[in-house]
């Protein structure tokens, strides 16, 4: 959960509603990286700015994986090394590094996909350790296969000058290429962040399970991010090798440099589009200066300062420069969460004055849409669900009740693909009318089955609008459409005033509604609601009921786990009672609550006889 600033990003919702000052400042800074050295026209200044471009580019590319996808890679230089070796080896056989660059990028993508896929099961520090180990393996292999890589002696490029060879006597062309590469990285970073892919990545990073429920192909989006990142890193590697004219395994597969590019991102603001750029812009010249001052003073002094700065930055500036900027700008465009009562009315059309004791007239329900047959699941020795079977019809509201621990959520997990049943299966009728047996959350989502989680799973660092957009993207690939759907849904759910608020600031009630809004935005055919009424105050329960009924009237089937009996009674067309993993009864709500077995299970033995 990195980067509060992630949600304040240029290119996302915040952009249009705020004076465009920040983008202009950023654009000016980017341009300055090119203009300053050309004006001063001094080779050293050129070098500093070329280095800024290279590190900003590398750091931005790293950020696709380390920031957006939240996978802390500390071995990213493996891709840089691949690019560098591809470029140099090919150049020395007479192939232009421009082609070498593409070859390197292609190889890096292949390597990235192969090594990342298994590593994605690893979390946080373990992913970092695995990437370090991979980097070491690459370095050792580069040392070992000296026929190809030149081994420890390294490889030198033949000094052929000109655009074709990326080597110049003048500094300007070198800057042009470095700057160009940096722009490409920034553009790709911006593009990904402002498109569906970026939303999916951040959603996956924030809450993987919720993202899967929203139909996000979590593995695929991360692989795309890794591939893009690897390709960009490799391209910069190729160019930098031409710039250095000499490469060796220790220098290109360098852990220190891998950490350094991650650090630029950290200091600038991990997960933001321009954070890594700002980090490099600030730190590269600073490092040069500090080395000038301290390098000769004492052995290791500047490394000591560098390490200390890293610790301090982690302690006091975990959101980086972009975080500071966001904090400085304050919470404009965002209501004060602590005082505003978030129990904002749910804006469903009021229905006929309803009487809770009067069962809602049951509309003619359609054909079967889901069949659950003989599901069983045990954890360890404990049978959580035993042989559960039921069907769901189109436009039906099915209440699922039972004491806590009866297995309701487990059942939900199995009929949304999050848990594989030990026995039995789930069949869903797809839009074409054929019965299919989905397996993964993604397949369930693709069939139009949306679910909420009992324990709310917001994408905490995203705004309310962005949270809902993740759901909306399921049907609307375009950002604009998704945003429109998200806003409409938000207003319907009474979340209108909080569109720009970060999800983490909402109350439990607000989060529950956000959870429903996100799944609603998927425009599902079947809605699985896990205790969405809990924590909503009494008056809103009525409105929530109306909302659900209007959803149902739109042809959506609903299965609702609910404890608020008032809601269960007035909502459900049918109620299933689950106790200790068994379905003990099912039928119309009125009948079910009269059932002595239900009363005993749900309310206790004494009550049944009372």
């Amino acid at each position: 959960m990195i980067g509060r600033a992630a949600s304040k990003e240029v290119g996302t919702g915040a952009k249009r509603r705020r004076p465009a000052l920040a983008p202009m400042v950023l654009a000016a800074l980017v341009a300055a990286v090119f203009i300053i050295p050309t004006v001063i026209d001094n080779p050293f200044v050129y070098h500093v700015f070329i280095t800024i471009c290279i590190f900003a580019g590398l750091s931005t590319a790293w950020n696709l994986v380390g920031g957006y996808a939240g996978q802390l890679s500390l071995g990213h230089m493996m891709f840089y090394g691949i690019g560098a070796y591809a470029g140099v080896i090919l150049m020395n056989t007479g192939v232009s590094p421009w082609i070498g660059m593409l070859v390197g990028a292609a190889v890096a993508v292949v390597v990235a996909v192969i090594v990342s896929y298994p590593c994605f099961i690893l979390r946080g520090p373990f992913f970092a350790l695995a990437t370090i180990a991979l980097l070491e393996v690459f370095r050792v292999l580069a040392l070992h296969f000296r026929d190809v890589t030149g081994g420890a002696t390294g490889l030198m490029i033949q000094l052929r000058l000109g655009w074709e060879w990326m080597v110049f006597r003048d500094r300007l062309p070198a800057l042009v290429i470095a700057f160009g590469l940096m722009l490409v990285c920034l553009f790709v970073g911006w593009l990904i962040r402002s498109r569906r892919l970026g939303f999916y990545l951040v959603a996956t990073r924030e809450r993987e399970s919720a993202a899967r429920a929203a139909g996000v192909p979590t593995v695929r989006v991360r692989l795309v991010a890794v591939a893009a990142s690897a390709a960009l890193t490799a391209m910069i590697g190729t160019y930098h090798a031409m710039y250095l004219t000499f490469i060796e395994p220790g220098a290109v597969f360098s852990l220190t440099m891998s950490i350094q590019i991650a650090m630029f991102a950290l200091i600038g603001g991990i997960g933001t589009v321009f954070g890594p750029f700002l980090g490099a812009l600030l730190l590269v010249p600073l490092t040069e200066l500090v080395r000038g001052w301290l390098g000769a003073q004492a052995l290791g002094l500047h490394g000591f300062v560098y390490g200390t700065v890293l610790v301090l930055a982690a302690l006091f500036m975990p959101d980086g420069i972009m975080g500071l900027v966001a904090r400085f700008k304050g919470t404009e465009g965002r209501p004060d969460d602590s005082t505003a009562p978030q129990a904002e009315a749910i804006a469903a059309e009021p229905r006929q004055p309803a009487d809770t004791t009067e069962p809602t007239p049951q509309p003619a329900t359609g054909a079967e849409i889901m069949r659950v047959d003989g599901l069983s699941k045990s954890f360890g020795g404990l049978r959580v669900i035993e042989h559960a079977s039921f069907t769901l019809r189109e436009g039906e509201i099915l209440g699922l009740i039972g004491p806590n621990g009866a297995g309701k959520t487990t059942l939900f997990n199995m009929i949304s693909g999050f848990m594989e049943p030990d026995q039995g299966d789930v069949a869903v009728r797809d839009r074409a009318g054929d019965w299919v047996r989905p397996k993964s959350p993604m397949e369930y989502a693709a069939l139009g089955i949306g679910r909420t989680f009992q324990i709310v799973q917001p994408f905490a660092a995203m705004t309310v609008e962005e949270n809902i957009m993740v759901g909306a993207f399921h049907r609307h690939g375009h950002v604009g459409d998704a945003r429109a759907v998200a806003r409409e849904t938000a207003h319907k759910m009474g979340l209108g005033p909080y569109l720009d608020a970060e999800a983490r600031g909402l109350t439990i009630g607000g989060l529950k509604r956000l959870e429903v809004a996100r799944v609603m935005a998927m425009e599902p055919r079947v809605l699985l609601l896990d205790e969405v009424m809990a924590g909503i105050n009494q008056t809103d329960v009525r409105r929530a009921i109306d909302l659900m009924l209007s959803i149902r009237d739109g042809g959506v089937s609903i299965i609702a786990i609910e404890h608020v009996m008032q809601a269960v009674m007035s909502l459900s067309d049918r109620v299933i009672v689950l106790n200790s993993g068994h379905i003990i009864t099912e039928g119309p709500p009125r009948e079910v609550v009269q059932d002595p077995e239900v009363i005993e299970a749900y309310l206790g033995k004494e009550f049944a006889h009372a």
């Binding site: 020795g381 809990a534 105050n537 608020v564 009996m565 206790g604 009550f607």
Partner: protein, 234 residues
């Protein structure tokens, strides 16, 4: 013995309790009733010091404990038996019980307390050298209660003791709670099994959206229409 005055508490930016006031007299069994998410668990956690209080006071035997840390509160004689058992899964039952008497005051009488507790829970004695994670849900709940008693608390707080247990086991758990009451201990209990709890309790509070909306004798609450409708479903 225990008094909450307008307590506000929550997690991070989210406030769950919006001014909860209640009292528990020595020797009483008091229950807090409410829907999921109403703030029952948070109330107990605030008393135990696991959740920090943002406003209001929690007085225990006249002393304000709202700023104390959990281990200090345990020292004062308040023990909470958490929801979902929360045993130490890789420890044996004996080790779990010993952890209950971790604080120095309880440690002195540890052997005696253990014997007393095991007498109360013969089933736990049978399982004493098993790993906690290998026990059934009901057994785990017994161990959790036994562990709580190891601290020899003046006030014992139960959070959803019947959660996830089969009806037969639930009855057993409540029998145990009644035994504890009978021994004169003060008990504050949070439970979704409203009927059972109100049967066992002297008094009850109804908590909705982080506020106490009703308080009365347990018997009166059992016949209260609002309760019957909202929590008993009739």
């Amino acid at each position: 013995m225990l008094e909450l005055r307008d307590v506000h508490a929550g997690y991070g930016p989210t406030t769950i309790l919006h001014g909860v006031s209640l009292t528990v007299q020595a020797g009483e069994v008091v229950t807090i009733v409410g829907g999921n998410g109403a703030g029952k668990t948070t109330t107990l956690r605030a008393i135990a010091g696991v959740v920090s209080t943002t406003a209001g006071q929690i007085l225990f035997e006249g002393e304000d404990i709202s700023t104390l840390s959990p281990h200090d509160i345990v020292d004062l004689g308040i023990t909470m038996i958490p929801e979902g058992r929360q045993l130490f899964p890789d420890m044996t039952v004996r080790e779990n019980l010993l952890m209950g008497a971790y604080r120095p005051a309880a440690r002195a009488a540890r052997a005696d307390t253990l014997e007393e507790v095991l007498t109360l829970f013969p089933r736990v004695r049978e399982r004493i050298d098993q790993r906690a994670s290998h026990l059934s849900g009901g057994e785990q709940q017994m161990v959790a209660i036994a562990r709580g008693m190891m601290a020899r608390p003046k006030l014992l707080m139960f959070d959803e003791p019947s959660l996830g247990l089969a009806p037969k086991i639930v009855s057993q758990v409540f029998q145990v709670i009644e035994q504890i009451e009978a021994s004169g201990a003060t008990v504050l209990i949070v439970e979704q099994n409203v009927f059972h709890t109100l049967k066992a309790a002297n008094r009850g509070y109804v908590l909705e959206n982080g506020e106490i909306v009703l308080s009365d004798d347990a018997e009166a609450l059992l016949t209260n229409d609002h309760i019957r409708q909202a929590y008993l479903g009739i």
